[in-house]
Symmetry: C2
Subunit: 217 residues, 2 copies
């Protein structure tokens, strides 16, 4: 028996990888939490090999941390790492926003606005996970519009690194304290103003990362 019955499409390691990625991005894993292969094998009902490969992939992206020789944990960010992540995001994401502003169609803009509306609803409803999901989706959609797979991939990797810590910070502050900086961004995209889009993105990035830095242990 190799594949679960009928699901011949996506390989198991890919499925496990996506599942773990969501768990990391949307706060189902706490920083510092140890990640054991066998635990995931029983939790996800997958075999050992796919789990191992997914973990290897995630550690390669920095989403998980090889602690010592044989232990994997969800990374705990320190001030220096947050600073570096901020620097990297500031270096990359405004460029993506700039590209997106130059390529954004009316349909793209409408889709972004819809996501942002759901994001507002999540904030209003105190739905933390919904906020994290829609916020990520907003940025992912923007990156898709930018049509820059290399840059987008780098940024996605960065998001994986601070996902767990972002969840902790937001959980502590509550969704009411979460600002929505996307309005400036949408306006800039609507106007096709690449410079303004980049500036708005930088503000969003810096503001978000400062929140994480402020919530460090």
């Amino acid at each position: 028996m190799k594949d679960r019955a009928g699901s011949a499409g996506p390989p198991a390691h890919e499925v496990v990888y996506r599942r773990l990625r969501e768990m990391i991005l949307f706060g189902e894993m706490a920083p510092g939490q140890p990640v054991t292969i066998q635990g995931l094998v029983s939790d996800l009902g997958a075999g050992m090999t796919p789990v191992r490969e997914a973990l290897r992939r995630l550690t390669a992206e920095g989403a998980l941390d090889f602690r010592g020789n044989r232990r994997i944990i969800v990374p705990v960010l320190d001030a220096a790492t947050v600073s570096e992540l901020t620097e990297a995001r500031v270096a990359l994401e405004p460029r993506l926003a700039q590209r997106a502003a130059q390529r954004c169609s009316a349909a793209d803009l409408r889709r972004l606005a819809e996501i942002d509306a759901r994001l507002d609803a999540a904030i209003a409803g105190g739905d933390l996970r919904g906020y994290l999901v829609e916020n990520h989706r907003f940025h992912a959609e923007l990156n898709a519009i930018a049509a820059a797979p290399v840059l987008s991939g780098l940024v996605e990797g960065l998001w994986l690194r601070f996902g767990p810590s972002l969840r902790v910070v937001c959980g502590r502050l509550g969704t009411q304290a979460l600002p929505d900086r996307h309005k400036d961004l949408l306006a800039a995209l609507d106007a096709g103003d690449a410079g303004a889009a980049a500036a708005a993105m930088e503000a969003d990035v810096v503001q978000g990362m400062e929140q994480i830095a402020a919530g460090l242990p």
Copy 2:
């Protein structure tokens, strides 16, 4: 029998990973070349599982390309990808040079100068692989001095992507045509001039990537 007798240090998948990484960086793999698990198993004398995990890690970093569902090849760069890689490198590497300039000690500088001397020797001697190795080592050392593991890791991933193509371009042009832009960089580091170091790095990056872009099929 699992480990080679007595060598308990590095796990097999790590060894395989490092070996493949060198093969990619220093031109032992041609762009477009298919990479098969079984081929590597017999070539490297390793087991199947370590090879699989190393490949998964490299594909996660973009160093190898999942073509279709079942085929892995060394990536073939197109103009858009080179453009993106250039943009990413320009966004990141000058910042690392800047950091390095602020932290560079006399011993660091001496080490860099030694590497650069070997690089010059490789150019003079027509030693292509030596050029690639020392050029990479120069930048790796600089990144280590910058003490920014996140940024350095991102940049290392970018180098893996254009390694094979760089090799092709250099092989076509010959080592005599390879410029050495590191002198400006060393001077800036010696002077502790962070801005000049960043500018020199940007020039080096742009020049190198233009060479790759010019050599595209």
